[in-house]
């Protein structure tokens, strides 16, 4: 059996090497074309490790570099394999689709793509807190370059909010990690997973990662960034990077400890709240990409809910696989949907492909909405089932509402997509093939380890039906009545910011103070000069002869008398 542990570093150093290569101007024009090749080691590892897993499902790859940073560890186990798989697939497809990016700064897009790719792959294999933090930051910050790539006003605005939230999250995460590392005396995540530590360290880590996941209130960057980024970038943002938060929660937080009083009810409720929150706000969107972004928030609700009960279960390592599987499901479909927007948008000239494209779009929408026998329906049902042994249970109706709202969102999405203005672009055949393959994979992968049964068909169809009913009954479209700008809270914040800055501008008082300061400085200089002159003239007193002699006499008297008394 081959030892793939060296590949653990290669999978993310290799793209970094590509990124460095872009420093050489001659390579830059090939930047985009080279992107798929950056995934080569990751692919090899996936393939090799996949075979090893088939032989022994508990096998783990390990790599230790004690002298790099403050001690670097990397490993890959079967859960990691799931993460790696979804990352590899989505990044790969996105890399192929990156050819859509054809502007002058394409190489820059490639650079950030490579950097965040490296981070994204790295955090999958990270087994110490610092490596995780490093790769997580690399991914987050580099993604900023993807968000801002198109440079128009909305991209800049999105990037601004993105980086603000990202850095805030980074720093929460950093402080949390430091706190845990200091308390546990190690950065080894295998120890971290089993040992609890002070509550607020955990809370900070949780919070730092929550930003990435898009937990309500911290989500505001998400609906701005996803629509603003180029299509393939949106695909990875929504498909892969958003999951990094879940991976982080799992890796950095101790599962037993996370099932205690405070967290017990928080995570499930937060999960449901996120589902509904993302869904409701998504319905108020007109831009299909923004809608998808809210949908991602909503879907993250499922993962939050999922990890909530995984922590509470007796065998979290095992249960986590279900959550990972759901993540895998969402990754494929959401990436596919985002790419679909691209295909619809760019492929108007290729009319003969259009039916196929639309077919795929509808298929994907249905998969996400939970078409019976599809991955969505199967996984949701399975998760509900296995979560039955969790300590804290949510009412089923809430989860049902979550599913319904997903269905509604998808219907809305298709409607919106149909109204999209189109821009002709050349057809990229490899990309198209990869997209079709992606959709295909999304369709069939569950059957590799799940056998669908007819028993649940009714209950599985339930949410979809309700959604269709609602959608048809409610003919008046929500987003015409209650339109909400993408980024919801951002709008208010920005308005408040403008108010504040205007407030400051009109403060004549401030200006006056400054003028007064200048005046005061001049005046004090003048005073000093006058004072100097006076001092200079004061010496006349000593120069005067009679004073001189008086002083002399006085001193005589002083010395003489001082000794006498």
């Amino acid at each position: 059996m081959m030892d793939f542990s060296g590949m653990l570093a290669m999978i993310w150093l290799w793209p970094l090497l590509f990124a460095l290569g872009l420093a050489w101007p001659r390579l830059r024009p090939y930047g985009i074309k080279l992107l798929p090749w950056a995934l080569l080691p990751a692919g090899l590892l996936w393939f090799g490790f996949g075979w090893q897993l088939l032989a022994d499902s508990s096998v783990t790859l390990k790599l230790e570099w004690p002298n790099i940073l403050v001690g670097t560890r990397l490993n890959l186990d079967r859960l990691g394999f799931v993460w790696l798989s979804l990352s590899l697939i989505v990044w790969g497809v996105a890399a192929l689709h990156s050819r859509w990016v054809q502007d002058v700064y394409a190489w820059r897009y490639a650079l950030f793509f490579l950097l965040s790719l490296a981070g994204s792959l790295g955090l999958v294999v990270a087994a110490d807190a610092v490596s995780f933090y490093l790769t997580f930051s690399l991914m987050s910050l580099a993604a900023w370059g993807l968000v801002i790539h198109e440079r128009h006003a909305s991209a800049q605005r999105a990037a601004r909010w993105y980086i603000l939230l990202a850095i805030l999250g980074e720093l929460w995460l950093f402080v949390g990690i430091v706190a845990r590392a200091a308390e546990l005396g190690t950065t080894d995540l295998s120890i971290w997973a089993q040992t609890s530590s002070a509550g607020w360290g955990l809370a900070l880590i949780w919070l730092g990662l929550a930003v990435k996941i898009g937990v309500p209130i911290l989500h505001i960057w998400l609906p701005l960034a996803h629509p603003a980024a180029p299509v393939p970038a949106s695909a990875v943002l929504s498909g892969v990077m958003i999951k990094a938060g879940i991976i982080g929660w799992w890796l950095l937080l101790p599962s037993q400890a996370m099932a205690n009083n405070e967290w017990l009810w928080l995570m499930p409720w937060l999960g449901v709240a996120t589902m509904l929150f993302g869904g409701v706000l998504g319905l108020m969107q007109t831009d299909p990409k923004a809608l998808l972004a809210y949908s991602s928030i909503s879907q993250m609700g499922w993962l939050i809910w999922g990890i909530g009960w995984v922590w509470q279960s007796a065998q979290p390592e095992w249960m986590m696989l279900w959550v990972a599987a759901f993540a895998f499901h969402h990754a494929l479909i959401k990436a596919g949907l985002f790419l679909a927007v691209g295909w619809v948008k760019f492929s108007a000239t290729q009319a003969r492909w259009m039916p196929w494209v639309w077919g795929m779009v509808i298929l994907l929408a249905l998969l996400l909405a939970g078409l019976p026998f599809s991955s969505g329906a199967l996984l949701k049902a399975e998760m509900k089932q296995v979560s039955a042994d969790a300590l804290y249970q949510l009412p089923d109706s809430l989860l049902l509402a979550g599913s319904v709202i997903t269905g509604l969102l998808m219907i809305q999405f298709v409607r919106r997509l149909a109204r999209l203005e189109v821009q002709p672009k050349t057809l990229e055949k490899p990309a198209l093939i990869s997209w079709f393959s992606l959709v295909g994979l999304a369709l069939i992968w569950p059957y590799a380890f799940m056998t669908p049964s007819w028993d649940n068909v009714l209950s599985d169809t339930q949410p979809l039906l309700i959604a269709v009913v609602f959608a048809t009954a409610w003919r008046i479209r929500v987003n015409r009545q209650v339109h909400l700008a993408p980024g919801d809270g951002v709008v208010w914040l920005e308005a408040a910011g403008v108010k504040i800055s205007q407030l400051k501008k009109h403060q004549a008082w401030w200006l006056k103070q400054q003028q007064y300061l200048v005046y005061w400085r001049l005046k004090s200089q003048q005073k000093l000069r006058r004072f100097s002159k006076r001092i200079y003239q004061a010496e006349r007193f000593f120069l005067n002869w009679s004073n001189y002699v008086t002083w002399l006499g006085a001193l005589l008297l002083l010395v003489g008398l001082s000794q006498v008394f």
Partner: protein, 463 residues
């Protein structure tokens, strides 16, 4: 007695008189006299310390000479500074030849003063020193030099008279003039206090200690640079040396309880007033002269700190260190100013920017000297000030910390007033006079000595 001791006094005096006789070559006679005296002054460091009586007349009758370490050091300081000033002056053709015989007269007088242990004899040497010094001021062709010299003359005479009064009172009381003998006999009493007061105030006037300083900035500011160097570095030190002798030796047995406050307060006022004036004066030369007023304040503070019985006498070497530091730094500074003044043709601070910038060696020397004056490391001045601080601590005179530090800061302030000009971009406004290159190097070496001598401060304590 070694022949070196009489030679130390007579060599400069005879060389000076030869200069008077052979006026055409007064400059060269002057140099011969200076070099010889300097060599002797250094060589005397190697002599055994001892005392002698002149003419073989036993002590109460004759005149006593004494070569102790304090005298040796004073002679050495005189020799070093004298040598540099002399060579500098030799290179300066604008100096009137009278400079030479006056300067050598002053030097001989100082050497005689340092050697003498007899208060009346010291009075005579003070007279010779005073008259030469006054005339040295007067040979300057700068406006107002004569008035300044007259003022100096009067102060000098007044000081001498007061000193003489003290001598007379001492003689009347103890029928002796020898300092060692007097110190042994000294008893408290109003007459002694009067003597002490008279001598002290007289010498204070000559040392230009605040508030009797007014003559100094005029005289030193208007004199020729070499002369200012001599006056500031050596002449006022001679009278201060006497103050040390009187307070720490002759009158030491008296109960001088308030003396600390007297000296420390006057010294502090001197430091502050001198520095303040240096900060506002418009002329470079005056600035340096005012600095002397301030530095004399440090000497007074040093004396104040030594008067206390708690201090071990070995500590008094710090006073010599202070004198040494100031002598080297101040002479270097005045000579540097001389270079600049001669090059620019004036010493108006505001218009010296260009000259200062081009005269790199001289400016560097000025800076080094300033460093020592301000008591910045690692100069001799720094160690001297360190010594003052340590003693202040022992005396628990915290307020002196403030004065010393403030004084140092102000010193730095006025030194930097000058250096600042060199860093401005002032353009050339006047044509520059040429000066011999040797003089720049000379000043630089002297200033470096002011720094380097700090490293050998330990030798003052016999290390």
């Amino acid at each position: 007695m070694s022949w070196m001791l009489p030679a130390l006094v007579l060599w400069p005096l005879l060389a000076a008189t030869l200069g008077v006789l052979h006026q055409k070559h007064a400059r060269h006679w002057g140099l011969v006299g200076a070099l010889g005296t300097a060599v002797l002054g250094v060589a005397v460091m190697g002599l055994e310390t001892s005392s002698w009586t002149l003419g073989g007349w036993a002590l109460p009758l004759g005149i006593g000479w004494r070569l102790d370490q304090l005298a040796q050091w004073m002679l050495l300081i005189g020799a070093i500074v004298g040598l540099f000033v002399s060579v500098y002056a030799w290179l300066d053709h604008t100096l009137p030849r009278a400079f030479w015989w006056l300067w050598l007269g002053a030097w001989g007088a100082m050497n005689a003063l340092f050697l003498s242990a007899d208060v009346f004899n010291i009075y005579v040497t003070l007279e010779l020193l005073g008259i030469s010094a006054v005339a040295l001021v007067a040979i300057s062709n700068k406006a107002g030099a004569t008035q300044a010299a007259m003022r100096y003359l009067l102060v000098s005479l007044l000081g001498s008279m007061l000193f003489l009064l003290g001598v007379a009172l001492l003689y009347g009381e103890y029928a002796s003039l020898d300092m060692v003998y007097l110190a042994q006999q000294m008893q408290s009493g109003p007459v002694m206090f009067l003597a002490l007061a008279a001598m002290t105030v007289g010498l204070m006037a000559k040392t230009a200690l605040f508030p009797l300083h007014a003559w100094l900035p005029l005289a030193h500011g208007r004199a020729h640079a070499a002369v200012s160097a001599i006056l500031s570095a050596l002449v006022i030190k001679a009278s201060f040396y006497l103050l040390i002798r009187l307070w720490l030796e002759v009158f030491a047995p008296l109960d001088l309880s308030l003396a600390f406050w007297f000296w420390a307060l006057l010294g502090s006022l001197a430091v502050l007033w001198g520095a303040t004036q240096a900060l506002v004066t418009p002329s470079l030369k005056q600035l340096v002269a005012w600095s002397t007023v301030a530095q004399v304040g440090y000497l007074a503070i040093g004396l104040a700190l030594m008067i206390d019985a708690q201090a071990q006498f070995s500590w008094a070497w710090g006073l010599v260190g202070l004198i040494l530091a100031h002598a080297l730094a101040k002479s270097a500074m005045f000579l540097a100013v001389g270079n600049i003044q001669q090059r620019a043709g004036h010493d108006n601070l505001q218009q010296l920017g260009y000259v200062l910038r081009t005269e790199r060696k001289t400016l560097f020397a000025f800076g080094l000297a300033g460093v020592s004056l301000a008591g910045l490391p690692i100069s001799a001045g720094f160690l001297a000030k360190w010594w003052l601080l340590e003693l202040s601590f022992d005396h628990q005179a915290w307020w002196l910390f403030g004065v010393l530090i403030l004084g140092s800061l102000m010193t730095a302030g006025y030194v930097l007033r000058v250096l600042n000009l060199a860093l401005t971009n002032q353009a050339q406004t006047q044509s520059l006079q040429a000066i011999p290159a040797g003089r720049e190097w000379l000043v630089l070496i002297l200033a470096s000595l002011a720094i380097v001598s700090g490293l050998s401060a330990q030798s003052l304590w016999g290390g």
